[in-house]
Every structure is written in C-alpha cells, then in structure tokens.
Symmetry: C2
Subunit: 456 residues, 2 copies
C-alpha cells in the first residue's frame, strides 16, 4: 500500500478524497487525511477501508514531521501561507508534494534543494490556477508544434451559480469566498496587451470595460479584466503574442450593476465607518450620497449615478434591500466592504439544494503559412450538491490525478513547478474528461481585435 497524506480537509477536499478512495483498490493506496478538526475529514472518508483520519495541528512540529515521514507523497490543501513548513519537511524526508496554490516567493526559493533531492513539488494544479494552465498549454503546444506562430491568448474563468439554481436578478450567488468577490479588482491596475498596444483600466472603470463571450448551450457571459494578464507571457512561452488578456466571468449584466457599488465607494476596504454597528442598510447607502433632507435616499442615488426609471439595475439594488431602514448592519468598526459583504450574504448565500457552476473559456489566435486562425475552447462543470460542488471537483480532481501521476513515476522533471509540461497535463486532462471536466473546442477564422490590419 502506498500512503498519500492529505493535509487539510476543507471545502475543496471532497472530490479529491472521493477520487483517491475510489482508486485506492486498483492503485494500492492508503489515503490519510490530517486536519486539526477531524469532523469533516471523517465525513469525507465515510468509513472507507483505505481511508484514515488523523488529528494534526500543523504547528506541532513533531506530529507534522512524523506524518510526512510516514507517507509516500503529500498533498497540502491548506491555505497557501501554511505550505512552507510542510514543504521543508518534504525535503527533509524526501517526499514529493502537490498543492493547488500559487507558488510563493519563499516556496520558489526551495527549488534548488528540491532538485538536489530529485523531488517533484507540483503546484497550481487545481482549477485557476491549474486546469487553466494545463488546458492552455495543451493547445499552445499543439499550435506551436504544427509550426504556427501564436498571435493571441485570452483566458477567462468564473465561479457561478448553476442555471437550475439561478433565481435572483444578479444571476449570481456566493459559491466560494465572498470577501474575494467584494474586493475583486482592487489593489492594482488591470494591465494587458491587445494587438501590441498596452492598455490600462483603473478599478473604478473595470466593471464597465467588460467583454462578452458565448458558450454553446450556456448562452452569453461577460468578463472583466484581471490584473495579471502579462505575468503569463513568460510562463506560457508567449513572448511574441500581440494580445494577452485574462478575465473573470460573470453572467451578463452583473458587472454593470456591481459598478454601482464601486461608484458609491461601498467596496472600499481601507477605512472604518463611523457608527457601523447601529447603522441601518439605508444609513449605509445614504453615507455615500449628498446631504439633502428634502429628497429620498432612493432619488439621490438614482440621480447621482444616473439610473433611469426603466433600468433593471434599480431592481437589482432593491432585491438586496439596500434601502431598508430597519435592518441593522450589526458589525462593529466595519469597513464599507465588510458591510457590503454582510448585505450581499443576506441575498446571495446558497440555498440547501443550490448547485454551483464553473466556466472556463480560452481563445488562441495563431498564424500558419500566412493564414490566421483561432481556436476557442470552453469548459463548463455543474456541481452535484453542496459537498461535491463544481468548485471542489475542478480544484480537487486535478490535484488527485497529478498526485497519482507523480506517485506512479510518470513525472520526470524535478523541482518546484507548475503543470506546464506534457508529461503532467496530458494524462490529467484525459482523466478529467472521464470525470466530466471536458473542454469543447472549435476552430474558426481569426477574429482577434484587428483582423483586417487597419492602423490603430
């Protein structure tokens, strides 16, 4: 039996554990789940003979080292900031490591030691980052391998509510960390390149600069720009591509309405509001409007942000109860962003039977023998229930599959790395297809941003 140690049994570990337990017979696996709170872990194992739960406080050095030493490979599902200690143990005891997190500077610095010991530390092998890397690299390698030149790469991902559970005007619910949604886009300029021109979008314009995209069978979506589009240039070997753009997917109309919060200042997380605890939702809204006692908060807001009588944005605001003068915020010394999150959670929390949905969409533009073409590739996954969510599946399954690949000696490159090589992505993507995580591709004429090559 080969022992896989999974550290951390949070929301994204469900599909991971289930997959490994299912494989445990044929693959001869013992799956050890370590967490400081063993309740969820025990539920996930559900008495499976090849599963085992251990109580582990990762700050208890001795227990942690013992758990690592006794395993054959380690998966860390902890928040990214806790990987480092586990990584050091893995080096000490010569164990491979798998995570779904971005590689931190500190982890990257372990690279030479990891290589010295001939180990594989595979990171960013969840959904985003993870499936985005693998599915993009598979197509990019294929295009380049055919002798074509990459012109354009655009990539979009979104965690949404499934169509069958979509019952509010925003077509959105919190299927993951609400805070990340509220502060999304803050803390830096959105920067990208289109047909060789660098473009910059400040935060207060981000949600009015969306682009539309369509996915067969799922309709139209929109996406706002991520901050980091240019980071992928080197990682994906796209130094010469004229267009690089990454974005976050929402249902059509979400961003234009979200922009109301941005314009008012409700997403600001940098200061504490006076008297936040006793404030009503209406007081909160009124704090961002002029003092005009003759006029209602409603009309002041409509006028300030030019919301027409017949604009459905207004009904979206009403749906959230933003003008309620009875509901209290009830948060002491809260920032606007914290208060807004509270208000949104009243409306956007999942109901018992709600299902989530993950959408990913890539565009690849290329030129071969003077002809320009474009490949569009999309993936949609709907969750089974609130344990085996689309998010848990798309994060956990590739982690599990990457882990088995490494355990079975099919990854030959040592070091702290991302799943960018064929030896890693090929079998994982094939195996993901068997579990319903499938990309649909179509090749069309190059559309890009300047197909007729007009002067910019």
């Amino acid at each position: 039996m080969r022992r896989i140690l999974i550290v951390g049994a949070g929301r994204s570990s469900s599909a991971l554990v289930r997959y490994l337990l299912e494989k445990s017979g044929e693959e001869q696996l013992e799956v050890i789940i370590a967490d400081i709170n063993t309740e969820n872990a025990a539920k996930l194992v559900g008495g499976h003979p090849n599963g085992k739960v251990i109580e582990l406080d990762i700050f208890d050095v001795e227990s942690r080292k013992k758990a690592v030493a006794e395993s054959d490979i380690v998966i860390s599902m902890l928040p990214a900031r806790f990987h480092l200690e586990i990584a050091r143990d893995c080096i000490e005891f010569g164990k491979n490591l798998v995570t779904a997190s971005y590689v931190s500077k500190e982890l990257k610095e372990l690279d030479s030691k990891v290589k010295e010991r001939g180990l594989v530390f595979m990171n960013e092998v969840g959904l985003d980052p993870g499936i985005d890397h693998m599915s993009a690299m598979q197509v990019i390698d294929r295009i380049k391998g055919s002798g074509a030149r990459m012109l354009l790469f655009e990539s979009f991902t979104g965690g949404l509510i499934a169509p069958e559970s979509d019952d509010n005007l925003w077509n959105y619910k919190f299927t993951w960390n609400p805070r990340n949604v509220v502060v999304a886009g803050q803390g830096g300029i959105a920067k990208f390149i289109q047909e060789g021109k660098y473009k910059y979008i400040p935060y207060h314009k981000l949600f009015r600069r969306t682009e539309f995209l369509s996915i067969e069978g799922y309709g139209k979506f929109e996406a706002y720009a991520n901050r980091d589009s240019l980071n992928y240039r080197e990682v994906y070997g796209l130094e010469d591509a004229l267009t690089l753009f990454r974005g976050t997917i929402r249902r059509v109309g979400f961003s234009r309405a979200w922009n109301i919060f941005v314009q008012l200042g409700m997403t600001d997380d940098s200061y504490v509001m006076q008297g936040s605890e006793d404030m009503t939702y209406r007081d909160f809204t009124n704090s961002f409007l002029t003092y005009k006692p003759h006029d209602s908060v409603e009309l002041k807001l409509r006028h300030y942000l030019k919301i027409d009588q017949d604009d459905v944005i207004w009904d979206k605001l009403l749906e959230l109860d933003l003008f309620n003068d009875k509901k209290k915020v009830g948060l002491k010394d809260a920032t606007p962003a914290q208060i807004l999150q509270k208000i949104l959670m009243d409306s956007w929390s999942l109901k018992k039977d709600d299902k989530d949905m993950i959408v990913m969409y890539h565009k690849f533009g290329f030129e071969k023998e003077g002809k320009k073409r474009q490949i569009e590739s999309s993936m949609v996954v709907v969750g089974e229930d609130q344990t085996y969510t689309a998010m848990a599946k798309t994060v956990g399954l590739p982690v599990a599959m990457a882990c088995l690949q490494i355990l079975n000696g099919r990854v030959h490159t040592p070091g702290v790395q991302l799943p960018l090589k064929k030896e890693m992505y090929q079998d994982v993507l094939t195996e993901l297809e068997k579990h319903g995580v499938r990309f649909v591709e179509k090749e069309v004429e190059y559309l890009g941003y300047n197909p007729y090559n007009l002067g910019a």
Copy 2:
C-alpha cells in the same frame, strides 16, 4: 540687536525676509538667512544692512548648532521632514522656534521638553495651515464668547491664478507644487459631517461632488472636499458642531474637467507605464482607451466618458494637446501621474508677468437664544510678481509676524503649538490687514444644509 535665524530661503521666504528687514530698524533686528545655496537668499536680502546670508548645510551638525546657538529665535522654512534636528537644537540652546508646517508626530513628542524649558514652538502659522487657523479661531472665539453655540464650520482655500493672468480654458495655472495638484485627493477617503450625518466620497467621485461659493468682487468658485475635515473638530473645540467640511477652491468648471483625468486613470501614481519614454501624448491617452483600430482616439474618449459635441470640457482637453502624436513624453519609467504632470506643465506654467491669487473662505453657523445665524468670511490676496507672490505673502507674513510676537514676549504659553490662542492670532491678523491680507465678513441668516429642520 536681536538675531532672527531663518533656515531655508525657498520660494516662500521672500515676503518673510522683506517684512523682517523692513521692521529691522524699529525692532532692532539682525536677520540671518541660512541656506545651502546662498544665491536666492542674497537676492532677498539685497544688500540690506541688517540682513546677512550664511551658507549652511543642515546635516553639518556643528555649523547648524552654532547658527542656532548664536540666534535669539529660529524660523525653519525647510520642508517639514527637516524640522526635527533644528527643533532639538532649539531645545538644547533654549531658543524659540517658528514653522509654517503641520506638526509631525515626532515634533509633538518634544512638547514636554519644550515646556520644561519654557519655550514656544509655534507651528502651522503660514497660510493653510496658518491663516486658516487664526481667522477661524478669531470668529469661533467671538461667537462662543457671545454665548452662542456653534452649529457649522466650513473652510475652503485655494491657490489660483489672478484674474488678470487667467488666460486658459481651465482658469488654472501651477502657482505652487504641480505634483501636489496632480495627486490631490488620493490616498484616503474624503470624510466629513453634515447636519450630524457622516458622509464619504471616494476619490473617483471627488471632483463631481463640488460645491459652489461666491466672493463679492471675484465671482463664483467651486470646492472639492479635503480628506481631513474631522481632524479640526477637537483642534477648534467644535465637538458639538453638526457640520464640519473643509475643501479646496478652484475656478468653476475645473473639477468637472479634471475628473476626465481621474476617470481615465491618468492621475494614478502607483505603477510605471510600459515604454513611457517614447510614448507620444496621443499614445498616453490611448493607453486608457479600448483597442479599436477603426476609431480615432478622440472619438473613443468622447464616447467612453460621454463628452457631448458641445461640451467645453473637450476644448479644455484639446488645449492641453492630449491628442498630439508628435510630442513625446520623454520620461523613462514614468507613472501616469508623472506623465500627466509633464503634459500639464506645458500649458499651465506661469508666464513671466503672471500673478497668483490666494482665496480663503469660511462659513460659521451658530445658534443664540433660539435664533440661527451664519457668518461668511472671505479673503483674497493677489501676488505682486513672481517673487512676492500671493502664496509667499500669505505663508511668509504670518510667520514673520508670529516670530516678532514671540520675540517681543507677547506669547505666554510654552510648548509645541498651533496659533489657536488669542494672544497669538489677534495681533497677527491685525498686522496682516495692514499688509493687504484682509478678511471681509458678513452675517446672514443661517443657511446650513437643513434650515427648515426637515427629516433627513
């Protein structure tokens, strides 16, 4: 002869030096001006028998201590971050100190030592801070002294171009540090209180939330909110006032046009633009707009920010040459704010004979025996030329006058302080009047924000 040591002979020292030299006969003064670069100092002294210039590097501890030790009082006109060493010397040698800068945390910490030695360290005694404190406290003390209760305090200041030199569409030129103008309003929320309601304006809305004000003989102005309105509550003893608002004055229409830069993202100082050095002004503008090679930069901008055909804002942008495709930025690794500053300096730099203008405006609302009244107080000063500017006069004269007050033993309260007490402001304001720095007051009915006491 009593020796006044002035450290720093920058642009704001001209009127200060002239005033003290003019007084040097009757007041028995020797005015020593110390600077690392003696050229400007020598010009200011102009061979006056009671003036003396010494070369001083303030980081040369020995020379600095010697200069302080030999003086009777010290005026520091250095940038605020350099006051601390001088302040410590003043404590060591038992000398009083005068500055026009905000009191830093470090300087404030010297308070008990300053008091122990019975010294006066008078700060914030220039224009803003300075004349604003003194002129406000004079009226507030008078209102409170009459048994009335303060309801409202609003205060506005602006450094502008004089009407006779006002020859561009923005009615604005750089009469002081251009960088401060470009980044004005950034780095924190504008927060104030109106009729007991706290209000918050995010940066991207700041220049659309202006208020108008009129000054007899000078016409209409506008003001956008400062960040710090609530800091003055305790300082001025206005804990119970329902309205506190501070703002920056511009000519009408400036802020609405400035908002175009804010919306585009041109005032952002947080990141470096790719290829800034070789960029044309047109490229710079285009960086903030969508990639649409079929459309002109002009039309893209008009459409993005909804600038109508007949809106004079457009002519303001043209006047700045924002669409010029020949003029190069020529700044390496520059931020948007640095590039914008460069572009504005082409248009907004003072011509040889241009004069500046300082405008200050206060509103005081109060209640006495059930009746509400309001005092409006305004001051306008126009510069003489580019040496004796309105800014240099309104900063330097109160510093000089405060210095003489202290030297003549008329300030009895020791410590690190602001000019908030009658012993300080009374004579300075009277003396300022003789030099053309004069407040015009009128008392009117209380207008406030809610004169009829309607529910908010």
